[in-house]
Symmetry: C2
Subunit: 219 residues, 2 copies
DNA sequence: CGCCCAGGTGGCACGATGTGCCATAAAGGC
DNA sequence: GCCTTTATGGCACATCGTGCCACCTGGGCG
């Protein structure tokens, strides 16, 4: 199903590159239009036109109008999961999560270019999320999928015999921490490398605040 | 009408009762149809017809086709939040959460009739959720709203001066625990009063597993 | 180089979604 | 009993998302 036999991991075969380019183009324009007018104020036709494709083609790339922005929202997720799976065994689970966050989100890290490129578009989009039901829905769906993808990674990371239910809970909690970190960051104007209010710093603070919050005694 | 003088806000005022009845009727049929054919296999027209109202009226009660089932999904939430807000001050946060869960979900509790009535419809619906993108979206939206509603309750419950960010994280974690408890319960055929696999028991186990999962050392 | 064909693209029609507008009938206040 | 309020139904309409077909481009092959 992977199309014509790829001789190598050589090059993406011009057509493939055009497809990837078109997808990025659609996503970019969708994000811009959604940020400015809200999802309800933009038609699929409008996005398609801005991206220079027909309406029919638009729906070949994305199942719904709103899905068009998912590429921007899933930006760092893949790297995060990969870095998490590769965490040194001597780290505790919390430490491993922090380690992965730093690796995936720190501007000095290996994914710097990838991030900074789309980071501002993503922030603009996230700022529109709270007040836009349709965008909110996409945002939640993206995180639901991340949570699902997180479970097998944590399973291999945790010690054997850990309850599946516990793993699922851990995945949900960690994922929620990441989500809230992103939402909080979007609400600020902090530079990506801000050591106090940048994405990485916020994510780490959220991961730590998670366990703290449930344990602090009441007044 | 020469009936007994109507105390202003006492009586639900016949019309109100009919509206509530219609809403329940729509929700019931929507849940049944969605459970059987999936959200994509049911038209708004079909739901309206089954509930005995016109299509136009259907959309006066619910903004979208999928929203029609939210009344069933938000069933216990209001009670849970109320019980949580009324938790004795000497309980820790985790204990308060457990206390509220028991009060709202235990079959012996004060909300028994309300629960058992719709509990089976809800379970049928939840079983369809994982494989149905549209239903999944509603399920996530409901929990996102619960999470939001949870924050002010926790704020008043926690000791003064607690970081807003920490409160939000706690709300998200507790809410995720409830969600996963419901999803897990829906996957079983346990009786509602099962002391091991019932909703209340599962919810408590999830709340505890939450803090445990993040702290256990690795192999 | 030219043929061929797999597959990306566009146009069109169509069922379905969700909303605005107006007419009607029933409920509640006087 | 009259009058205002409001829930409801019917209709038209823009938009959504999909199936189908016709076109054309690019990439392999003789």
């Amino acid at each position: 199903m992977t199309g014509p036999s790829l001789p190598r991991h050589q090059r993406p075969s011009l057509t493939e590159r055009r497809k990837a380019e078109t997808e990025r183009e659609i996503a970019r324009h969708a994000a811009e239009l959604f940020s400015e007018h809200g999802a309800a104020g933009v038609t699929a036709e409008g996005i398609a036109q801005a991206a220079g494709v027909s309406l029919r083609t638009f729906y070949r790339y994305f199942r719904t109008k709103e899905e068009a922005v998912t590429p921007l929202l899933t930006g760092g997720v893949r790297q995060w999961l990969a870095d998490l799976a590769a965490a040194p065994a001597e780290l505790s689970l919390t430490q491993a999560l922090e380690h992965a966050v730093r690796a995936a989100l720190t501007p000095d890290g290996p994914y710097a270019e990838l991030q900074t490129e789309a980071l501002e578009s993503t922030r603009g989009l996230l700022r529109a999320v709270p007040g836009d039901p349709a965008l909110r829905s996409v945002w939640l769906r993206v995180h639901a999928e991340t949570e699902e993808a997180l479970v097998p990674v944590l399973t291999r990371l945790a010690r054997e015999g850990t309850e599946p239910l516990e793993l699922r809970l851990t995945a949900a909690a960690a994922n929620a921490a990441m989500r809230i970190a992103m939402e909080t960051w979007a609400g600020t104007d902090a530079e990506p490398d801000d050591p106090e209010r940048g994405p990485a710093a916020l994510a780490v603070r959220c991961l730590r605040g998670l366990t703290a919050g449930l344990h602090t005694p009441r007044a």
